[in-house]
Symmetry: C2
Subunit: 405 residues, 2 copies
């Protein structure tokens, strides 16, 4: 690449509008390369994909895609290209190596130039329909990878649900997250079309002990008792696929996404006491009802936490020890003409070793949770998330596509 850049700078010195343009663009690419070393980059390679146990970044752009071709090789090539572009972008570099001249479209759309890596992570998942008849993958489908069953309280929009592939881009700058999704969509043109996407403007979970607990749009601290990146044993037990899964998915996970619309106007009219009894925590401190501090243990035997409070029904003790790693984001998609209300809430994302963990939890919550009066689930999706790549030549999903069948 250094050679190319020198060559182009030579062309630039020869002047002419087009040449000046090229040189300018190349110089930019070079300064982006330097930013890659700037220290805000999350390593792309590893045993697991980044963006799962990575401390949750502030902003999200999530997208689901449908494959529009029917040959296996195209999907494979796409995953290889996506992996390479994700590795580059998470290091703060352009999505692809520079185009050789100005008469071609730029190989990066440019809006993240100068913003640095911003702790970008790109996490790629494979949805149940990818394992249908089209690509010869049916026999490799992990048994737990099925569309989620209808759950109590579901009001799902099928057009905003499901998908063959997903990309979760998280970063501390929303333009960096947008840029990642946009460029993967650009690279995928002709092979995939975007099915739906979701922007999240504020994280609602902590996934590391180093992080403070954020507030969701109900105004409550959310995720106090979430699994943390530092709990290696708990992650192995609850999040990472082990020997029960196919070889290609070991050290991977399953992600469940749920767009949970909050009935903001109804919630805002509820009294503070109602709100606190609904959640089971105090609003300001985030302490379990009857306790004083956020991290005081949740004592389900005390009478302070109502029988239908959210934290009681979601607690591992109420669910045979089931835990999931939550990684959700607050969203607003403007204004809903039909209801005359803000269209806002929580884009719930959870990683678990088996989607059944989520299903069990949600069955209990959907049937009894006091919170149901104030929310509805409007979209749902599940994806298998392959393990990370170990080297620059590896690609996400390779174990699936190259497995002896």
């Amino acid at each position: 690449m250094a050679l190319t850049r020198r060559a182009l700078l030579g062309a630039g010195a020869a002047s002419g509008i087009a040449a000046a343009g090229i040189a300018g663009y190349e110089i930019g690419a070079s300064s982006s390369d330097e930013e890659a070393v700037a220290g805000t980059a999350v390593p792309f390679t590893g045993r697991h994909q980044a963006g799962i146990a990575t401390p949750a970044q502030d902003r999200l752009h999530f997208a689901a895609f449908d494959v529009v071709v029917d040959d296996r090789r195209s999907v494979q090539e796409l995953l290889r290209e996506w992996t390479a572009a994700a590795a580059r972008m998470t290091a703060g570099r352009p999505a692809e190596p520079s185009a050789p001249n100005a008469l071609l479209p730029p190989t990066d759309t440019g809006e993240a130039m100068g913003l640095g890596p911003s702790q970008l992570t790109v996490t790629i998942g494979l949805g149940p329909p990818l394992f249908d008849h089209r690509f010869g993958l049916a026999s490799a489908r992990p048994a737990p990878l099925q569309p989620l069953p209808l759950l109590p309280g579901d009001e799902l929009d099928p057009e905003r649900s499901g998908g063959d592939l997903c990309v979760q881009a998280c970063a501390n700058d929303p333009q960096v997250a947008f840029h990642a999704v946009r460029n993967l969509a650009r690279i995928g043109r002709g092979t995939v079309v975007m099915r739906w996407s979701q922007l999240g403007f504020g994280r609602t979970s902590t996934t590391s002990r180093s992080q403070s607990t954020p507030r969701n749009l109900m105004g409550f601290k959310d995720g106090t008792n979430n699994l943390k990146a530092e709990d290696g044993a708990a992650l192995s037990r609850h999040v990472w696929v082990g020997s029960e899964g196919p070889a290609w998915l070991r050290d991977g996970s399953f992600v469940v996404t749920r767009r949970i619309r909050m009935l903001i106007e109804t919630w805002d009219r509820a009294s503070l006491q109602d709100q606190q009894e609904t959640i089971g925590r105090t609003k300001t401190a985030g302490a379990p009802m009857g306790e004083r501090h956020e991290h005081d243990p949740v004592d389900l035997r005390s009478g302070a936490i109502p029988a239908d409070a959210h934290i009681r029904l979601a607690a591992p003790d109420t669910n045979r020890g089931v835990r999931i790693l939550r990684r959700g984001y607050s969203f607003t998609d403007g204004f809903d003409d039909e209801l005359g209300q803000l269209d806002a809430g929580l884009f719930f994302i959870a990683y678990q070793r088996d989607p059944q963990q989520f299903v069990e939890l949600q069955r209990r919550l959907g049937a009894n949770d006091a919170l149901n009066e104030y929310i509805k689930h409007t979209s749902s999706a599940v994806f298998a998330v392959p393990p990370g790549v170990r080297s620059g030549t590896d690609w996400i999903g390779r174990g699936l596509f190259e497995a002896p069948n």
Copy 2:
């Protein structure tokens, strides 16, 4: 308030779930009060409303409202309440003083608790329909406050255009901006309904010499030659309403908003040379074509900048010296089923002394700009923006409502 807080803490000490809840909430309000001093607050009072010449913050939540009552006093009362709440929130405090007990809804929705002022500004405007027959304001309508005429290339969605009132909330944390709009909507319930809203995730303008130039979603630096807060004389000439306007609007301004959808997929397929000739600048450096550095002067007589390049047609020299203060934001509203493309672009916001400044510019751009191939204007609105308030008892628009008629 100190008395109230002490009283409630006393009640909290007496124990009981509800009391503990109140105490917790009050303690939070108190720590929020302390944050107000933390130095990230933009002063709310002043000759002009904040959020116009204020250095553009990173994130935006803009909302337009329709008044649903027909008495003048309600509108007046709403503007008084909005002013008080805006003053509190921009200082990092809850939207309203705390409710006296936990059996009432909280007076602040809570999701910005702990986030600090985050340089929040709240800017309030009055749209043309407010001056119709309903509120006895027809004779006070400033002559230039008319719905914008149909402009070349308009493909406007009327449901996303216009409005009686507008609120522009800008902050460096998107949750703080969302919180401001949500709480003003909550306070306005029964008097106004939200007509449309727009989230912006990245600023596309510099409004201060202290800021670097950001990139828009075309990947180009945007706003290099924008008016700057430091150019007092230019702002007086181009932005602030002077003696030509009604007394109640002097030191105010007019804001024009345009939702400009970018045809991202088409743009991304254009060659670098096409893109640069369309804009008239180089992509990486942001230099005018034929120059080397972003801030090199734009020389319209050199042959380097094509006749239909955006910066040529938008330049003051091409427009009899007309200038506007741009304050736009990049947006994405997900995915457009109809076009099968990303729904993303620029939410253009401009402040000017007379909306005609924008109309003249846009007539020229809409008719000839090479950029038109890649964009369409999908919403449009204009509002008169009253001057700032000078004291804690004043309110935005008071000069209009209390003027001898």
